[in-house]
């Protein structure tokens, strides 16, 4: 069974995003970009299935500008067998990504797609579910455990109030939550080896997919700022403030 892992290149999670001066978008110029952390977890899950003999091949896919090659090389260094870049300069929204991934699924025929639950830049939490719907497949989002069986999988999901286990039919789309695993780091020898692994480049046009954005970004802005607070000296002063100033207890 092939496993497809979509990986997104995002602003590194350690960097605080700021609006551009003209409010047209988020400032990214010159800032460190990394693989979306949830996609690292997805890669790790796929690689473990390969190592465990349950997956035959792990294919990393990224959609976006040429710079995404860097993210794909990271995926290859982590253990993906090969990579596909769907290259475009057009700003991609989740529905467009889902359509591109659907076209790749038609080409590659994977038995499982493992994606991140959420890209930490757009915080959309949509792409995996959309892909699953477009394919007419089953889905299991927010996975903290995946057990592969014959034609089915058991997936434990993080939901409000606790955990839910689903039995899903394969092929399926699964999205990862934080507790699924702890991703490995790429070692130097593997980074060297990754340079020789195949990385294919396609375009939305060659896949016949319409990626026109549906949402127009009108502006980005800083959220309403909080008033700076004070430091209190001790518990007594804290209680006094909470009772008499904030009136919350």
């Amino acid at each position: 069974m092939k496993v497809l892992v979509p990986v997104k290149r995002v602003l590194d999670y350690n960097i605080k995003a700021r609006p551009k001066a003209d409010a047209s978008g988020v400032e990214l110029a010159g800032l460190k970009m990394s693989m979306n952390p949830f996609d690292e977890i997805a890669m790790e899950a796929a690689i473990r299935f390969k190592e465990g003999g349950q997956a035959s091949e792990v294919i990393a896919v990224s959609c976006g500008p040429q710079a995404n090659q860097e993210t794909l090389r990271t995926a290859l260094a982590l253990g993906a067998d090969r990579a596909v870049l769907v290259e475009t300069e057009v700003e991609l929204q989740p529905l467009a990504v889902a359509k591109l991934l659907k076209a790749l699924v038609a080409r590659e025929q994977p038995g499982l797609v493992i994606c991140g639950k959420q890209a930490i830049d757009d915080d959309a939490n949509q792409t995996g579910q959309m892909l699953s719907a477009l394919l007419g497949w089953s889905q299991a989002t927010f996975a903290s455990r995946i057990e592969l069986g014959e034609g089915t999988a058991l997936v434990t999901r993080e939901i409000d109030g606790g955990l839910e286990t689903l039995s899903i039919r394969l092929p399926a789309v699964v999205s990862t939550d934080l507790r699924l695993n702890e991703p490995r780091y790429a070692t130097l020898p593997n980074i060297m080896k990754a340079k020789k692994k195949p990385l294919e480049t396609l375009t939305p046009e060659s896949l016949g997919v319409d990626i026109a954005p549906r949402l127009t970004l009108l502006k980005v802005a800083e959220p309403p700022a909080r008033q700076g607070g004070i430091k209190v000296d001790d518990v007594a002063q804290l209680l006094d403030k909470l009772k008499n100033e904030a009136k919350v207890i």
């Binding site: 999670y13 700021r18 959420q118 719907a133 497949w137 689903l166 430091k231 001790d234 804290l238 919350v248």
Partner: protein, 310 residues
């Protein structure tokens, strides 16, 4: 313009989240319907009929809908969608699970986690862990929207008298089936709706100290318990305690952060709280930048003293 609000419930109780989503629907304007989908949930539909501003409650019941599985929920909502200009639900674990399926099947964008209605086709939503707010306009005929409940004040529980209509539940897609459910039994208020939240981080050091120090404090304040990702990953508390960008979003009247440094991903989940208290031994911890009242000290002394003084 007619809006369909999909109710959040557990087949027994209508969750408060629905009343927050209704407020967002009211801000959009137009006629409002509520869909109650589940099994043996007629009582929920009755509660929904009393919600103010709702003209009609649509009730779909079947075994296939009992656990609100994404594939079956999406199929139902897609079938009802042509009657509506907007589909709204809470940006909860459930809403996030099925709404994107609906959007994809309708070939429309989904607008996730809105915090403001700017116009019936224009919404504002946080991106990048809430560091930035984006205002987006949708050109799609049907707007599929999930709502950040903390950003909209809940409408009252009563005041309305909606009609009730039964709708065909649809067949089971058979794509997935729930085989297990482990809910964390708790007598505390729900994290998302509690008036007071006491949250602990890595500074608590262990599951034992988390409960020994924070439970008595939460008891005194009738508070819900929350946590940072580090506390959850370290196994101090279950997953669904996590507050933050990729956990729960809360906005209580009072949020007490104990032994939490204040990473941007954590702040994303609690920055909208009315009053924030931070207890941390590091005077430079970033949490103090958002705290109304900061107390620098060792939580092992401060928390018991606070609990005793309440």
């Amino acid at each position: 313009m007619t809006i369909l609000v999909v109710a959040e419930h557990d087949n027994q109780h209508l969750k408060a989240a629905t009343r927050h989503v209704l407020a967002a629907a009211e801000a959009i304007g137009g006629e409002i319907h509520v869909l109650v989908a589940g099994q043996h949930c007629a009582g929920v539909a009755e509660a929904a009929r009393a919600l103010p501003g709702v003209s009609c409650v649509r009730l779909a019941q079947s075994d296939a809908l009992e656990s609100a599985g994404a594939e079956n929920m999406a199929a139902l909502v897609v079938r009802l969608a042509p009657d509506y200009t907007h589909l709204l639900t809470a940006a909860s674990a459930s809403g996030k699970n099925w709404m994107p399926r609906v959007a994809a099947l309708l070939d429309v964008a989904q607008i996730s986690d809105i915090v403001r209605v700017d116009a019936p086709d224009t919404f504002t939503r946080p991106i990048y862990a809430g560091s930035v707010w984006a205002t987006v306009r949708s050109a799609d005929a049907i707007k599929a929207v999930t709502v950040r409940t903390t950003a909209f004040e809940a409408l009252p529980e009563t005041g309305g008298a909606a009609c009730l209509e039964t709708v065909e539940a649809g067949v089971d897609t058979g794509l997935s089936r729930r085989t297990g459910l482990a809910l964390n039994a708790s007598s505390r208020p729900e994290l998302e709706t509690a008036r007071v939240v006491v949250s602990g981080g890595r500074g608590l050091g262990s599951a034992e100290r988390f409960s020994a120090l924070l439970e008595p404090l939460a008891d005194k304040l009738n508070a819900a318990l929350g946590a940072s990702r580090a506390a959850v990953d370290s196994g101090y508390v279950p997953n669904d305690y996590q507050v933050g960008q990729t956990g729960k979003i809360v906005a209580p009247d009072l949020y007490i952060a104990v032994g939490i440094s204040g990473a941007i991903q954590h702040l994303a989940g609690m920055k909208a709280s009315r009053v924030i208290v931070a207890i941390n031994k590091d005077p430079d911890a970033p949490i103090f930048a958002v705290a109304d009242y900061g107390l620098v000290g060792d939580l092992n002394q401060v928390v018991p003293a606070l609990t005793a003084a309440l």
